[in-house]
């Protein structure tokens, strides 16, 4: 089923041809849920036809044996970078609290079908209020029981799914500390098979790195000292289900135009919305009221602009949830060194 505001097939096909003309290399299809689109493989074939590779983000519930067969046709498998399945709990009780009702069993079935077919499948665990005490079991399920090479983690934010499922998925400051500590320990136990570019584990790794640098007497790092956290907008952008171009899917209010109406290249190169995120790298942390007195600005990059936007309604601020100074002030609350 395609919702009323989803672009129809032909509009996406025209857009993928535009991407091909611009020599774009990769497309990630996400949702909602990509497998609800009956034209999904037509879209994938258009991506392939236009000389690109692709990835899929899915909740896994609609993946069947037919999906595996369909993925093996022509170059669909060759051009596939990965299929990422969201697993948010080690059992149905936990997983289903932040995912569609009764979805755990179907998500696991989809994950196993992909794994057993040798399709490059990855798992994303979004740390939330419901699974923060289940992380050890999740790691055991994915790494020990299923034998996956690894999985990645992030954190439920005041954006994306959390806007639909409500505030009850968001973790508290105390839960973030617990998740950071737990994931850091698990990652050591599992030989770095757990990864993160954002969320509690990324935070734990970041703070541990800063601890080490400060212990060595380092007070500055290359590329830090400004709001430079987000490198994504220099290499990618997002298009929402209705064709709205935005700098990032987590910044849906920063509209850059509509595909098929506004030229992608012009928006990518010149639109003020994406350039305002890129230009954050020129804003020194020392110019921000909350960071002015901080001794660690030379080691800090301010955090995710989308998280900042969700919290403060503007981009030019630092995210207190990733603040090393606050971490140091509250260090005694941590169970041990991360």
């Amino acid at each position: 089923m395609v919702s009323l505001s989803d672009l129809p097939t032909d509009r996406w096909l025209i857009f993928f041809a535009e991407l091909g003309e611009l020599a774009v290399q990769r497309v990630t299809l996400s949702g909602g849920e990509v497998f609800t689109r009956p034209d999904l493989f037509e879209l994938i074939d258009a991506i392939i036809e236009n000389r690109m590779r692709y990835s899929l983000l899915t909740n896994g519930t609609l993946i069947t044996e037919k999906t595996i067969v369909a993925l093996s046709i022509s170059k669909r498998r060759l051009r596939l970078d990965s299929i990422q399945v969201s697993i948010d709990g080690s059992n149905a009780d936990v997983h289903n609290k932040s995912r569609p009702p009764n979805s755990f069993g179907r998500a696991m079935r989809g994950l196993l079908l992909l794994r057993d077919a040798g399709i490059p499948v990855t798992v994303r665990v979004t740390v939330n209020h419901h699974n923060v005490h289940d992380l050890e079991n999740i790691a055991k399920l994915l790494l020990d029981d299923l034998g996956l090479p690894g999985f990645s983690t992030n954190e439920a934010e005041q954006m994306g799914t959390a806007r639909c499922t409500g505030q009850d998925v968001l973790i508290t400051e105390e839960e973030r500390r617990l998740a950071s500590s737990t994931l850091a320990k698990l990652n050591r136990r599992y030989d770095n098979r757990i990864s993160a570019t954002a969320g509690p584990l990324a935070l734990a790794n970041h703070f541990a790195d800063l601890d080490d640098r400060l212990a060595r007497g380092e007070i500055q790092m290359s590329g830090r000292g400004t709001l430079s956290s987000c490198g994504g907008v220099f290499s990618k952008m997002a298009v929402l289900h209705d064709g709205t171009m935005v700098p990032c899917n987590l910044l849906p209010s920063m509209i850059m135009g509509k595909i098929g109406i506004d030229p992608l290249q012009k928006a990518w190169l010149h639109h003020s919305a994406i350039n305002s995120v890129r230009n954050l790298t020129g804003i020194p942390l020392s110019s921000l009221a909350n960071c002015r007195e901080c001794a660690y600005t030379g080691l800090c990059a301010g955090g995710c602009p989308a998280a900042v936007m969700a919290k403060f309604g503007k981009l030019d601020a630092a995210d207190p949830d990733v603040c090393y100074r606050l971490y140091r002030q509250h260090r005694e609350k941590y169970h041990d060194r991360l």
């Binding site: 091909g20 611009l22 020599a23 774009v24 290399q25 392939i48 000389r51 690109m52 590779r53 170059k75 060759l78 051009r79 970078d81």
Partner: protein, 94 residues
């Protein structure tokens, strides 16, 4: 008689043209190569299959200060840098 090998731009490869050259990308192998403006010109020249001698002749004919020796070396380097990642297709002359 063995005919010389022929070289052609792999049609699955995308060519992102920049101010100072181009980025060639083969999505089948996920390999990328950056070429300068002369490399881009050769890439476009190879939209149909050519022999190494034809490439050399093209360079000598279009660049006044390029010797045959230099063009031969540049052609060899161009082919050797693009062929391993299947950015170029190579056809047996026979």
């Amino acid at each position: 008689m063995n005919l010389p090998k022929r070289y052609q731009a792999n049609p699955v490869v995308s060519c992102g043209i920049e101010e100072d050259g181009a980025v060639l990308y083969n999505p089948d192998t996920d390999k990328t190569s950056v070429v300068n403006l002369t490399g881009l010109e050769l890439w476009l020249f190879l939209s149909t299959s050519r022999t190494a001698d034809e490439i050399i002749a093209y360079l000598v004919g279009n660049y006044r200060d390029v010797s045959i020796e230099q063009a031969s070396a540049d052609t060899k380097l161009f082919i050797e840098s693009l062929a391993p990642d299947f950015l170029l297709e190579i056809f047996d002359g026979n």
